[in-house]
Amino acid sequence: MIFVIDDDELMSRCIVRACRDHEVKEFSNAIDAMKALDEKMPNLVFLDILLDGPDGFALINEMASYTDTVKIPIVIVSSLDLEGKDLSPYGVIGILSKDSMVPEELLAYANKYD
């Protein structure tokens, strides 16, 4: 299963569509996503950074602080310029720019980790 966390509903749906047949759960904020982690762990998280309430970095920090969530791979999907940033110590395996990403990139991550 994959978590998609983005407060832009339309963008979230585009990401879900790109994941094709993978099971996906959508969240519009970090708090709901964190609660859902208590119930079932995803195999992959697509995470926006600028969210309503706590931002994506807060969620990354939270996930990195628990032994069971620290290993969940996270792909940041954001329009912020994060080029060249190494966030791998926090479980971030990739950064996609909303400005230039294509659906195939999202699907490749889904196929590899889910």
Binding site: D8, L10, M11, C14, R17, A18, L50, S79, K98, D99
Partner: protein, 227 residues
């Protein structure tokens, strides 16, 4: 003390979000009839161009922060990359793009991304304003210790008032180019601000049958020794 919020940067971010969605929605349109593929392609291209302009506008606001590193940059490589990116758009508009290098392969002192945007904006303007069945020309040549990048179009000549303002030191704000309908002058303003940051000189030449815009950048003397 509360930090000041830059309204333009906030607006830029707000504008980018729907543009990025439109671009993704276009990708989502699977199995279109062949005649609609062209529409999808244009949706993607238009949104990408708009995203780029919004990004550039945000960069203009950040120039004062000095975040853009100046380094030796290959003009030819930048021009090749930009023309490769835009050649399809030129094709869609049924216009030609000619690229000619007569400079030595020297490096200039610039910021790669800002220079890319300058050339991109020049070429986009040239495509927009060149008359049908004409071509735009990208020329790179040496000018003493500088390299000059020129983009020539074959459309309406630049109004004298704008030409004078450019000659007197660039544009301090977007300027509607009255004789060139549909222009906000945003691309030229961005090119002007980026050129100024890179210690380059932006200029324009009026022709009877069009306009040339150019930027001159200082040669990176040390780096050029190794080329």
């Amino acid at each position: 003390m509360e930090s000041e919020v830059d309204g333009v940067l906030v607006a830029a971010h707000e504008l980018k979000a729907p543009l990025a969605v439109i671009r993704q929605l276009a990708f989502s349109l699977d199995e279109l009839a062949p005649q609609n593929e062209q529409i999808r392609s244009e949706m993607i291209q238009v949104s990408e161009r708009a995203i780029k302009q919004v990004n550039d506008l945000a960069k203009v606001r950040r120039l004062e922060d000095g975040l853009f590193v100046m380094e030796p940059v290959s003009v030819r490589a930048v021009c090749d990359d930009v023309s490769r990116e835009l050649i399809h758009l030129y094709g869609n508009e049924k216009k030609e793009l000619s690229v000619k290098y007569s400079n030595r392969a020297r490096l200039v002192t610039a910021n790669h991304d800002l220079l890319y945007s300058v050339v991109y904006n020049f070429l986009l303007n040239a495509m927009h304003y060149s008359n049908d069945e004409t071509k735009a020309e990208l020329l790179v040549h040496d000018a003493r210790e500088k390299v000059r990048i020129v983009v020539r179009d074959y459309g309406p000549a630049l109004p004298v008032a704008i030409w004078r303002r450019i000659r007197e030191g660039g544009l301090s704000e977007p300027t509607s180019i009255a004789m060139r309908s549909g222009s906000s002058g945003l691309g030229l303003y961005i090119a002007s601000e980026f050129s100024r940051y890179m210690h380059g000189k932006l200029g324009a030449v009026r022709h009877r049958d069009g306009t040339s815009f150019f930027v001159e950048l200082p040669v990176s003397k040390q780096a050029s020794l190794f080329v």
